[in-house]
């Protein structure tokens, strides 16, 4: 019986959360020296880069704070296909791919627990 070719290990599979593209990989670091770029032009001026990074940090921080403020509040979601639903917001996953929500009011009934796919959401609003 012929022996099988040996293998060092099996290929690594997808990470359980997140979409990959490790920013610490040599390729990423070499090819994306700064992932900070204005919508069209790349800012080569270091002062501009710093300014933009400051603005980005401020926006990111306020976004994260809204997620905290939203916890356990009633949120209205506007989604594709003219869908408007309301639910109690629980939490977001780390990449903001899914929202964990409860008591989701849909046209066909109330879903006790649900996971909302963020890419399907156009906008959402809630009262502070």
């Amino acid at each position: 019986m012929r022996p099988h070719v040996s293998v060092l290990r099996l290929p690594r599979g997808p990470a359980p959360n997140g979409r990959g593209f490790d920013p610490n990989s040599p390729r990423f670091i070499a090819l994306c020296p700064t992932t900070i770029s204005a919508s069209t032009e790349t800012a080569t001026d270091s002062v501009q880069i710093r300014e933009e990074q400051r603005a980005r940090s401020a926006l990111r921080e306020s976004f994260l704070r809204t997620l905290i403020a939203m916890t356990n509040k009633q949120v209205q979601f506007h989604m594709y296909e003219r869908v408007k639903v309301e639910a109690k917001f629980g939490a977001s996953d780390i990449d903001v791919l899914n929202f964990q929500i409860s008591e989701l009011h849909t046209p066909i009934g109330v879903q006790k627990e649900a996971l909302l796919r963020c890419q399907d959401v156009i906008s959402y609003s809630f009262d502070l």
Binding site: R2, P3, H4, V5, S6, V7, L8, R9, L10, P11, R12, G13, P14, A15, R19, G20, F21, D22, P23, S25, P26, R27, F28, A30, L31, C32, T35, L97, Q119
Partner: protein, 331 residues
């Protein structure tokens, strides 16, 4: 002593894998992209199959996927009526190109400046990626859904295969048909090899080789089962094919002899491609997996390690383990 092939299984997709493509050889190795009906195309390191990232954004099955030579850009074609261009380093979506029907095929020019798309609306489109808002150039003529559209002849011509049972060669500037091949049945796949200008076409149980410039037939080879996809080795000594019977076949290109067949997939094989260095070939299947197969079985490459007979019985072989190839389970 000939060793038995150990395919490497890449898991992660949850639905059939319908298309796959390799990049060229880059300073960071070469890469592999897989198109899947689960709508989430994945990028993998080409020589190991290690997952690098998933392109998220499509809202339907992804039917076609491609990488540019440097693996810095990816393009995908999907059932959500869009083709998308991605940054293949960050995974970010760069462009969405709306179409009027399911998009099946995407292909970059050598310099990545233009993208070719084709799909169920029977129209071939050329997008200038430097002016994405501009209207694409359209090439009409096919009377059925387009399966594959590829740049050829130094990006001056286009080859397309459609369900109207024709393969057509178009001039890019005039958008006119230069030559046409007609078949008795639909072409299941097409591969273009720029070096040597060879076109590999599969239909029914046949793998056919044509001169890509003249569309003159070079040779045809028949396989034991209906073939969905085939790929010619860069050195043009072998070709591999896979289809309905779940097996991968390896043939000698010169003699047309069937050399080997490998079991492993649990479903029909939809796509198969040689890596740019010819050391391995990847197959995608209805079973939702990709498998990597060695061209030279037993050679040390990627995750495969050549083990000398003495090492097999040695007591110090704790870093080496054998995984069996086909489990030989009858479905």
């Amino acid at each position: 002593m000939a060793m038995r092939q150990t395919p490497l299984t890449c898991s992660g997709h949850t639905r059939p894998v319908v298309d796959l493509a390799f990049s060229g050889i880059t300073p960071y190795g070469y890469f592999l992209i897989s198109a899947c009906k689960d709508g989430k195309p994945m990028l993998r390191q080409g020589d190991t199959g290690d997952w690098i990232g998933t392109f998220l954004g499509h809202k339907g099955a992804v039917w076609g996927a491609t990488l540019n030579n440097e693996a810095t850009k990816a393009a995908t074609a999907a059932a959500d009526f869009t083709a998308k261009v991605w940054d293949a380093v960050t995974g970010d979506e760069v462009l969405t190109l709306a179409h009027k029907h399911i998009v099946k095929s995407v292909n970059f020019t050598q310099d990545s400046s233009c993208l070719l798309t084709g799909g169920n609306d029977k129209i071939i489109r050329i997008y200038d990626l430097n002016q994405p808002e501009a209207e694409p150039q359209e090439i009409t003529g096919h009377t059925s859904a387009i399966k594959k559209a590829l740049w050829c002849n130094n990006d001056t011509q286009i080859l397309s295969a459609a369900d109207d049972k024709t393969v057509r060669l178009w001039d890019r500037n005039s958008t006119e048909v230069v030559k046409q091949l007609s078949f008795d049945m639909s072409v299941s796949s097409m591969e273009y090899i720029p070096d040597g200008e060879v076109l590999v076409i599969t239909y029914g149980k046949t793998i056919a080789f044509y001169n890509a410039l003249s569309l003159d037939m070079i040779k045809t080879v028949d396989a034991p089962a209906s073939i969905h996809s085939a790929s010619l080795h860069p050195d043009k000594d072998f070709f591999v094919a896979g289809g309905d019977d779940f097996k991968l076949y390896k043939f000698d290109y010169g003699t047309k002899e069937e050399l080997e067949s490998y079991k492993g997939h649990f479903g029909p094989v939809h796509c198969v491609r040689f890596s740019p260095d010819g050391e391995l070939y990847a197959s995608g299947s209805e079973d939702g997996t990709l498998r990597l197969w060695q061209t030279a079985v037993g050679k040390t490459y990627g995750l495969w390690k050549c083990v000398l007979p003495e090492e097999l019985v040695s007591e110090n072989s704790d870093t080496i383990y054998c995984t069996p190839a086909a489990p030989e389970i009858k479905a």
